[in-house]
Amino acid sequence: MVEILVIMGVGMVIGYLLREKKALFAAIDRIVMAVIFLLLFVLGVSVGLNETVVESIHIIGVKAVVLTAGAVGGSILCCCLAWRLFFSDTTEVSIHDEMGEQVAHEG
């Protein structure tokens, strides 16, 4: 599946070269949405034709919930940990400073 990465890379370079053409990107956003709808429809068709999936859709749903809980829970814990460990000096005030915003002083 290396071709996927190559295709994406080529797309990114072309996109970067054409970055000034704003109208083009509005069109591309719409093309992407249309292609996604089409692909999901096709994916649905192949699912509908697949008897294993159709017969076990309720089990598949439960599995999806379990995996979502794992991925979301893990990412939240890991991210909070990273924030505490490596950004402990980054208070809200300093974020405001980095963003160049006015800092409201207490008192």
């Binding site: 599946m1 290396v2 071709e3 996927i4 990465l5 295709i7 994406m8 890379g9 797309g11 990114m12 370079v13 072309i14 996109g15 054409l18 970055r19 083009l24 990107f25 956003d29 992407v32 292609v35 089409l38 692909l39 999901l40 429809f41 096709v42 994916l43 649905g44 068709v45 192949s46 699912v47 509908g48 034709l49 697949n50 159709v54 859709i57 598949i60 749903g61 599995k63 999806a64 919930v65 379990v66 995996l67 979502t68 794992g70 991925a71 979301v72 829970g73 893990g74 990412s75 939240i76 814990l77 890991c78 991210c79 909070c80 990273a82 924030w83 974020i95 405001h96 963003m99 915003e101």
Partner: protein, 199 residues
């Protein structure tokens, strides 16, 4: 939210078509989806490459900010892998592939279907749509319980578009730039991660 519901509708209409409509063989037996997937990847690449705000955000932030999307990736993969103990017929590797969708359901489910078949692809689709919808609904609770980076972690790749408004409202404007950055990095990471985990 509206987008993910439309996606879900397209998928359900597709399922109904597959179940009840007699389709010609060229529609069911060709490599058409693979080529459409290539086209999609190409256009997604153009979109990312041409997005000037993406590069502005990347340039402005220091290296440390990469720790946030990195933590989201590590946490998602480890979390999905560890709950796979409860799912007897899903291997750790497949669970990690689904976790590495990071909420980018359209791309990850299509990839996983191509590489592992419809069963796993459907689980990936549902799981990653749930991730987006959960983030949209639970963002205020996540901030209260786990702090202001929690919705950014939960959002995964969607933090750059669909869930960005809700993160900005609940975590605060100063976190929106981190959310955007994390979402951009994770969006680029999804196809790479899924490919590496499944090959």
């Amino acid at each position: 939210m509206k987008g993910s519901l439309t996606i879900l509708c397209c998928f359900i209409i597709g399922v109904m078509t597959g179940l009840f409509v007699k389709l010609p063989s060229f529609a069911t037996e060709s490599d058409l989806t693979l080529w459409v997937l290539y086209a999609l990847i190409f256009f997604v690449g153009i979109g990312i490459g041409g997005d000037t705000t993406t590069f502005a955000v990347l340039k402005k932030s220091n290296l440390r900010i990469f720790l946030i999307p990195a933590a989201v990736i590590v946490g998602s993969l480890a979390g999905a892998a560890s709950v796979s103990i409860f799912l007897s017929d899903i291997s750790v590797k497949d669970a990690m592939a689904i976790g590495s969708g990071l909420g980018y359901y359209s791309l990850s489910s299509i990839y996983i279907t191509e590489m592992r078949g419809e069963v796993l692809g459907t689980i990936a689709l549902l799981s990653n749509i749930m991730r987006e919808i959960f983030t949209l609904l639970a963002a205020p609770l996540l901030v209260t319980w786990f702090g202001r980076t929690a919705p950014i972690a939960s959002a995964g790749a969607t933090a750059m578009d669909t869930t960005l408004p809700i993160i900005t409202i609940n975590s605060g404007k100063e976190f929106s730039i981190i959310a955007l950055f994390s979402g951009v990095v994770l969006t680029i990471a999804v196809p790479i991660l899924v490919t590496f985990i499944l090959t």
